[in-house]
Structure formats: C-alpha cells, structure tokens
C-alpha cells in the first residue's frame, strides 16, 4: 500500500434538499457514504455502478470540484481534503479528468488548439511557441490531424472530440487521470478505439486511471481491479481478471443482467426485483437487502463491512462465505 497514489478514507458527501419557509435542510441525498479506496501507481481501478450510485460524485470529490462532508483524500502523499483552491492549483497538474459527454466537455467557442493548450497556459509551463508544438505533438499522439489545431469542436465527430478531451487531460502528463464514463456516449465501433487509445497512453506516460463506468464489460476490459458501488457504498472489490469469482449477490446480478450478444445463450438469469432505493433515505442495514434474493433478518439491521474474503477480494456482505461464484459467471467465461 506504500505505492498507493490515491488513498481515500471514509469519504462522505450528501447534497442537502432545502425546503420549508426558511430553506432549512429537510433531507439529504446521501450520494457517497464512507468510501475507502486506494489506487496504486500505474494501476487502473474500475468503478462500476448504476446511475445514482454516487460514482460520478466520487470522481468530482477526488477532483475537488465539490467539497466532501467527511473523510480524507490523500493524493500523492498530500492530504488535499480541505486544501484551498489556490494551493490546490499546482497539484491539479498531476490530476486530470476525461468526461463522458464529448459534446459538453469542450468549450464550443474555443478552437481545439486552445482547448488542448489551456492547461499549459494556465500553469505557465511553456512559451507560446513551445505550447503550439506540444499541442501539435499531442494531436498526432491521440490520432488527430494537425489541421485540427485551428478548428472548432462542432467540426468533429463524437469520437474525435473525445480524443481532444483526452489530449487536454494528458498534456501536463498527470499522474492520475479520472475517466468519468469516457466511452458511454460513443458508438460501439468507436468505443474500442478510445479504449485502445487510453491504454496506449497509459503505457506511454505511466498513467494511473480511475475508470468510472456503468458498463461492467468496458470496466472489466480496461481495469486491473474493479470496485462495485451501490447507493454510495463500495459493495465489492476484486481483481478484474477474476470477475467470475466475484461472489457478492449484487455483482452477480449485475453480471447476469448484461445482455449477451448470442441468441443461443440460454442462461439462468437473476432479475433483481424493484428499483434502486432512493439515496435520500437508503435502507437500513445492508443497503442492498430489499433487492437481494438471499437477504436474511440480519441484513436489515446490521450494516456489513467491506472485508477481505480472498486474495484481493473484498466484499460487504454478511453471508459472503456462503455465496459461491454464480454459474452465470463461469458460463460466460467458457464462452
């Protein structure tokens, strides 16, 4: 753990819902509830979960775009949890982000050259001549034409824009890149190219990724380790290559819900009942218990801790030892 680049402990964030006459806080959307994660240097941690599970909020917290209510964020040996923005600014050089929507993440009024070069400009690391050269190099590196420099985002396709977004993120050769659903808005045929690009750049610049996605398949492909999030909490963590060995009932349901591109596949499916409960009022005990097919009384009252149950396997489940890897997983593996 000494190698960890990012270490977050008990990170918690709620968004107040105000109401009533005086605008008092009447409820709280508990977006992130006591998350512990650490990412080693050069590692890719995949963070997967359904919409509203708090995974994007977690990314925003680490980037300090929003302030946490409690917990600690230690990045590269420094505690940045409550660091003022002015002191944070130099640290931002080593922590960058790639967003989901390539249409929203690029300023439509700026040229691609200006967008990619902006981090260099604000950190005053190069002269303007050097900046241009750096941006040109990077354009080539991410697979764009040099002509792209003076063009505007609307002239590009979604995939090309995402390349621009990636170029902006890595121009300062950061240590950590938080990729928040970077391929979710892209077509399948483009998705692969962007994932490949992300992997190439990771090797080339020895980057570390926190890869956030709702798509377990994509996460499984790119990650070294996977963390599964549900209602603001980490449910299970395991090595990506051992997905079929993951035992948490939620992880298994997630795996089994993914449609497989094979019309002949006859598989026994776990279809979870009901909706994801509201994060305003999460269930007591294990937050998954209302939808869990194996829930027992203790699950309603007692909150399970994220405990180790195998080499590199952690889960928050009272009955993890009684669970076994679901047949779905192994069947998938054999296909």
């Amino acid at each position: 753990m000494s190698e960890s680049l990012l270490n977050i402990q008990n990170l918690t964030k709620g968004f107040p819902i105000r109401g009533g006459i005086l605008g008092r806080e009447v409820a709280r959307v508990q977006a992130v509830r006591g998350v512990d994660i650490s990412i080693d240097r050069g590692e890719v941690l995949g963070l997967v979960g359904e919409s509203g599970c708090g995974k994007s909020t977690l990314g925003m917290l680490i980037l300090r775009l929003i302030d946490p209510d409690a917990g600690k964020i230690i990045f590269d040996g420094q505690d940045i949890t409550t660091m003022p923005q002015s002191k944070l600014r130099p640290i931002r050089k080593s922590m960058q982000v790639v967003f989901q929507d390539p249409y929203a993440s690029l300023n439509p009024r700026m040229s691609v050259g200006d967008i990619i070069g902006e981090p260099l400009l604000v950190h005053k690391v190069t002269s303007s001549k050097e900046r241009r050269d750096r941006v040109m190099d990077l354009l080539k590196l991410v697979g764009l034409n040099e002509k792209a420099y003076g063009r505007y985002p609307h002239e590009f396709s979604g995939g090309q824009r995402q390349r621009v977004g990636i170029a902006r993120a890595i121009i300062l050769t950061p240590k950590l890149v938080i990729a928040d659903e970077p391929v979710s808005a892209l077509d399948v045929s483009i998705r692969g190219e962007i994932l490949n690009l992300l992997e190439d750049l990771k090797d080339r610049f020895s980057l570390t990724y926190l890869f956030i996605s709702h798509d377990l398949k994509v996460v499984e492909h790119i990650s070294d380790r996977i963390a599964v999030m549900y209602l603001g909490q980490i449910m299970e963590m395991f090595p990506a290559s051992e997905l079929c060995e993951a035992r948490h009932p939620y992880t298994q349901a997630l795996v089994s819900a993914i449609p497989v591109p094979d019309p002949d596949a006859k598989r026994e499916r776990i279809v979870l009942k009901g909706d994801v409960p509201s994060p305003i009022d999460p269930p007591s005990g294990c937050s998954f218990h209302p939808r869990c097919p194996y829930a027992k009384d203790v699950c309603k009252s007692q909150e399970p801790q994220l405990d180790k149950y195998g080499d590199g396997f952690f889960a928050a489940c009272h009955f993890i030892d009684e669970m076994k890897a679901h047949s779905v997983g192994s069947e998938l593996a054999s296909k």
């Binding site: 130099p90 922590m95 982000v97 300023n107 604000v122 950190h123 002239e155």
Partner: protein, 330 residues
C-alpha cells in the same frame, strides 16, 4: 457530423443574412451613423469651403463666420472675389428663415419648416446625433453594469447572488419611465444626465440574462474541465462563460438601443429632454403639438424618423435572436 469550417460568429452571420429586412436595417443604421457624424457638413447655414478676398476658409467650423444669407447679400453687392460651396441643406438647425414660417414641404425646405421658420430636414439631421448617442451610450452603460453584475451573481452565487438578485428585483419593481422622470427632475435634464439615468435604470435585463447564461454554463462539463486544468475564476469567467453570454447580450443591446432612443424621445416630448437650443426628434414632436391641426408634416416627419430608427434596431435584434436560437443549430 463533420461540417465545413465555421466559427460561431460566421454561423450567426449566415443565419442573420437570411432576414433581408435585417440586412436593410443594418444599412439604415449605418447610414444614420454616417449622417449623424457628418451633420455639420450636410446641414449648415455656413458654407463648407469659401474663398473671400483671396483667403480660403471653412466657415462650418467657425461659429463666428458669415452665414449663407449674409453671404448672399455680399454676393448681390458683387464685391468680386467670393466663392463658396454650400452644404446640401443650406440651413442649420437654428437658422430662422422668417420668410417661410410654418412652410409645408417645398423645394426650398424639403420637409417644410416649423413655427419659428427652422428647416425640418436640418433639425432631423442634427437631431439624429442626440438620438443615436443617447441610445448607444445609455445602453453601453447598462450593458457594462449588467454584464459585471450578472457575471458576479451567476458565477459566485451565494451572497453575491443574493444581493444582486434582490437589487435586480427592487429595480424592476419601479416603473422605469417614472423613475427616469423622477431622477431627472432632481438632477436636471441634460443629454449627459439622460444617458446616465437611462443607463443605470436599464441594466437589470442584461444582468438577469448574463446571470442565467452563467448558471447554465457554469454547470457544464467544459467548465469543470477548466477548473481541473487549474484555471482561475477570472479566466473561467472571461474565456469560458462570457463568450456564451455575449450573443444573447447583443440581442438585448439591440432592443435596448431602440428603447433608449424611444425613452429619450418621450422625455424630450414631455419637455424633460435636452435644452431647446439643440433639436432632438422628441422635442420636435413636442413643439409640433401646437400646430397639430395645420402643420401635419411637423408631427409626421420626426415621428417617422423615430419609428424608422427604432424599427431598424428592433429588426436587427429580432434577426439576431433568430440567428442564435438554439433550435437552429449550435
């Protein structure tokens, strides 16, 4: 989809051009500006260029020099060596042609004269200076205040927003025209005061607009990306947020100039305008009231001038608004 090269401005211009009326309006406004700038050369009782007794002079710049009618007298006495170029309209706004008081449009006075024998065309031309400068300066002031307050409120939120929003609410509660009248009654009517008062009572719309745009843009991902890049607040406001608010502000400014011109005309009409020595379109209308029954041209001409100018600005505003409409294309 990959389109041909286009900047945002050129896209707006392409859409704008579709409205022929708006393009015509641009020409009208441009012509008005030229007329206002060149007013002394167009309508003047003194010659533009003159040679008298072997000396060249430009009497239009010299209030003390001879007027055309005086020159005519000299010319009639044929004291030789006298040569001059008349301005196209050989009357100043305060040239009293006592031979033709309340003259309807004639060859001499193309649009007639008023009750004091002053030429209407000349007054119209000189009056355009007041209308246009009031419109532009007043809205300039309003836009600057509006943009600054709007940005502060929209970007920083919290207390800044709280205070500015309340201020906007308070300002909008007063009937603007009544407020302008009241303040002018206290500070005294002058062209400068009119500009300032219209300006400081007219910023709320723009502030609200900029604040709204700001709130909309602030939550977008490219702004987050800029924060993560380490950009400071100033840069984010200037480079990322303001450009998005500019186009709607431009629309608002265009309509604003129209309403400022209207407000100035109304003030002059009520006798709260500029001092009587300088003709403005509104004061011309005000004076015309006396002769409503006999001097139809006195009402029709300045009113039409106000109307055409306001219409031009409104058409430009309308076409701009259509051009930046998000349903056209972004």
């Amino acid at each position: 989809m990959v389109n041909e090269r286009q900047t945002y401005a050129s896209m707006i211009w392409r859409q704008f051009k579709k409205s022929r009326l708006a393009v015509v309006s641009l020409f009208v406004v441009a012509a008005l500006v030229v007329i206002a700038l060149l007013a002394p050369f167009i309508a003047n009782e003194r010659p533009i260029l003159m040679r008298h007794a072997g000396e060249w002079s430009m009497p239009i710049f010299d209030k003390a020099s001879l007027t055309l009618s005086e020159l005519d007298v000299i010319k009639d006495s044929s004291s030789g060596d006298l040569w001059f170029i008349n301005p196209p309209i050989p009357f100043g706004p305060t040239t009293y042609d006592l031979d033709s008081v309340l003259s309807p449009p004639t060859k001499k006075h193309l649009l007639g004269t008023d009750g004091d024998g002053r030429d209407i065309v000349s007054q119209l031309i000189w009056g355009s200076r007041i209308s246009l400068s009031v419109g532009v300066v007043a809205i300039g002031i309003a836009a600057i205040i509006g943009i600054i307050f709007g940005l502060l409120a929209g970007y920083f939120g919290g207390w800044a927003d709280m205070i500015i929003s309340r201020l906007i609410e308070i300002m909008t509660c007063f009937p603007t025209f009544f407020l302008i009248l009241t303040v002018l009654a206290f500070v005294g009517p002058s062209i400068f005061n009119i500009m300032v008062v219209i300006g400081i009572t007219g910023w709320t719309g723009i502030a609200r607009l900029v604040r709204g745009e700001c709130l909309k843009v602030r939550g977008r991902q490219f702004v987050h990306a800029a924060v993560v890049s380490g950009a400071r607040d100033g840069r984010i406001m200037w480079r990322h947020i303001l450009p998005h608010a500019l186009a709607p502000v431009l629309v608002s400014v265009s309509f604003g100039v129209a309403s400022a011109i209207l407000a100035e005309a109304a003030l002059s009409f009520l006798g709260f305008g500029v001092p009587a020595s300088t003709a403005s379109w509104g004061s011309m209308l005000s004076e015309a009231q006396e002769y409503m029954d006999i001097g139809w041209w006195l009402t029709l001409v300045p009113g039409s001038a106000i109307f055409v100018t306001i219409m031009a600005y409104n058409l430009i505003g309308e076409a701009l608004r259509d051009a930046i409409d998000p349903n056209m294309k972004t």
